[in-house]
Amino acid sequence: MHSYRLTHLKELESESMHILREVASQFDNPALLFSGGKDSILCFHLARKAFFPAKVPFPLLHVDTGHNFSETIEFRDKLVEKYGAKLMVGSVQKSIDEGKVQEETGFHASRNKLQINTLLEAIESNKIDCAIGGARRDEEKARAKERVFSHRDEFGQWDPKNQRAELWNLYNGRKRPGEHFRAFPISNWTEMDVWQYILLENIEIPNIYFSHEREVFERDGVLYANSPFMHLKPTEKPFMKRVRFRTIGDMSCTGAVDSPASTLEEIIAEVASTRTTERGSRMDDKRSEAAMEDRKKEGYF
């Protein structure tokens, strides 16, 4: 007899498809936050599955810090073309030029924090009532408590003390005018689940996830890609190295890992044996123990 049992990846897939369909049904104008990183690529893949043979019924929204890896942008544009998706871009550079935010200065300057403003502006000007994000609860302690449907007040803020109860697979997306939601369809996936699923489903990802030769420099024990956006201290000397990226964010705060892994299988083996979290290579979270929580309250993904 057939055993009616799903593997963990198929059960997660099914849960995520259910959440994406709830979003499409409960909101008038949702958008998928798309960074070009593997988690947002996964969300898009799951959305294609959820609505097939119809097209994904919402646009992609990219908050562009202007400090992207060029590979990410190429990948984004190819994907949009291949699937006929609609792309909206919110530009941090534009927010800076318009004087809405101020560029950080100094060696640790990053545009990561500035994204919040641009994101909230894009949400407001496009009247987006639900921004779908690829955040996972295993990434960071503050995320461990976030709901799948996460309510934001009219200032875009998250109140961790006053979250709605979320039970079974029933999601409450009711809101007042001016308020909006974030929805996190891959909340229950871990980094390992994501990689295994990418392999299982043969999902295309930007090539900078795989080992490649690149000019890097070292700062505080972390390797960073050398780029025009980085201000090197006199003691920091760029050199060539085989590296890959475990996450893809703003170039100014995404560390590279010294890795020979050039296939998905090798990445999975590497993830299985690494002893630091993905976010361990991101400068933005290191600032303080509660760094992520602070940024989330203000409206970070």
């Binding site: 099914s14 097939f52 043979p53 119809a54 302690k141 408590k145 039970l167 409450n172 361990g280 929580e293």
Partner: protein, 424 residues
């Protein structure tokens, strides 16, 4: 080259469990130990915990710090919400819904329990059954958690004495006989020292049962889902309207019970029309059959008007359909239930309005006594309530199906989720 190890994940399944216990029974230590011994803790997390421990002046590294989340909670040193944790072994992926144990957090416990296959309830070996233990067992049974594991913790503090364990076990069995508990398990452990958590204890030869980790990895969960009563709540109607898929009209949803097979007859509720299944899709793939909890798209051989909130079922096995709903309600909000109050009810993909017709009784969840005198239902209270809905709901008893038997109430003024209901 691909080794078997790399493919191992293709054969893993998923177990969701909750943990409950009174303060200081060792819940955080136990979770910390499960994560640590299964290597789910990364060096930078461990570093952060070591730093935080030394900032607080704790001598040892406090494994319990791994599991508490938000800053306010860190400052108060208690967990106040539901936090989700993840770890995996080569056999299974685990999701822990970590909830606090105090009576004022009953709502969090109920939330965590709603999706769990298994509940771990901690008991301090020195103290035995406490009022809270009963409450946790009751909530596990009310929320229909199929498997319960009582961990008798801190065995190291009672000299690993078998008599202590047996006494608590028999007390728990007595109490549980009053509940609709299903699969009960009892394990003597020391979360601090690691006895019988991941590794078998060398101090308790008298215990022949499995370690907690062995049980978590091997307990049979495929039978927890309902594969008998065919139910597909329609979530979304898919109409591509492209040249290639011109006439395609698919009904998308997550199966809440039974098995759907191509060619079989389904009945649509509430309309009552019948048709046969033309095709079943999961993404780009067509499949012959599908089962809970798969998210699928179904097309039918006849053109029937179907929309979100309808349900596809087997004509030989219909759910109940009624506007009068008898539920056990757990109240989740500061504002108490309003007698004769009106709320929005969400049941499967269906939304309706409802009125509270009657509070039949309120439950004392420590003693399991029913109060018919005091029927005010406030935050964290549990009571039996009759609702009258504006349109019929199509449901099964919660005990038969957790998805077609559950609902939530939403306050129409604040939009908050104010109650969780299990249909009796």
């Amino acid at each position: 080259m691909m080794t078997k190890e790399h493919h191992g994940y293709l054969d893993m399944d998923l177990l969701r469990f909750t943990t409950a216990g009174s303060v200081d029974d060792g819940k955080s230590t136990l979770i910390g130990r499960l994560l640590y011994d299964s290597r789910a803790i990364f060096d930078d997390q461990m570093e952060a915990v070591e730093q935080a421990s030394s900032k607080r002046g704790n001598g040892d590294v406090d494994l319990s710090l791994l599991t508490d989340g938000l800053r306010a909670e860190r400052e108060q040193g208690i967990t106040i919400d539901v936090a989700y944790r993840y770890f995996a072994t080569p056999k299974r992926k685990f999701i822990i819904a970590d909830t606090p144990g105090h009576i004022q957090y009953t709502r969090n416990m109920v939330t965590g329990a709603s999706t769990a296959n298994l509940a771990i309830i901690l008991v301090d070996a020195r103290k035995g059954i406490q009022e809270q233990t009963n409450r946790h067992a009751f909530i596990a049974s009310l929320l229909g958690i199929p498997h319960v594991v009582f961990c008798i913790n801190k065995m190291d503090l009672v000299d690993y004495d078998e008599a202590v364990f047996q006494k608590i076990k028999s007390d728990l069995e007595d109490f549980s006989s009053k509940l609709e508990a299903r699969d009960l398990n009892f394990i003597p452990i020391s979360a601090l020292k690691g006895d019988n958590v991941v590794h078998r204890s060398t101090k308790m030869d008298w215990y022949q049962g499995s370690t907690l980790m062995y049980l978590l990895e091997n307990i049979h969960i495929a039978g927890d889902l309902n594969h008998i009563d065919r139910r597909l709540p329609v979530q979304h109607v898919i109409r591509p309207m492209t040249d290639e898929w011109h006439d395609f009209r698919g009904f998308a949803g997550q199966i809440s019970g039974g098995i759907f097979r191509k060619g079989e007859t389904v009945q649509v509720l509430p309309s009552g029309f019948q048709s046969t299944i033309k095709s079943i899709h999961i993404g780009e793939h067509e499949v012959e059959e599908a089962f809970a909890p798969q998210s699928i798209v179904v097309t039918l051989n006849d053109e029937i008007d179907i929309s979100r909130g309808d349900m596809l079922v087997s004509p030989n096995n219909l759910p109940q359909s009624s506007q009068d709903i008898d539920v056990m309600l757990c109240w989740l909000n500061d504002r108490p239930l309003q007698p004769n109050g009106k709320y929005t009810v969400k049941h499967t993909t269906r939304e309706a309005r409802c009125m509270v017709k009657e509070v039949t009784y309120k439950m004392d969840i420590n003693s399991l006594r029913r109060y018919e005198e005091d029927r005010t239902i406030g935050m964290n209270d549990i009571g039996r309530v009759l609702l009258r809905t504006t349109v019929p709901l199509h449901f099964d008893n919660y005990a038969r199906n957790r998805h077609t038997g559950s609902l939530i109430l939403i306050d129409e003024a604040t939009n908050e989720t104010v109650a969780a209901g299990m249909i009796v």
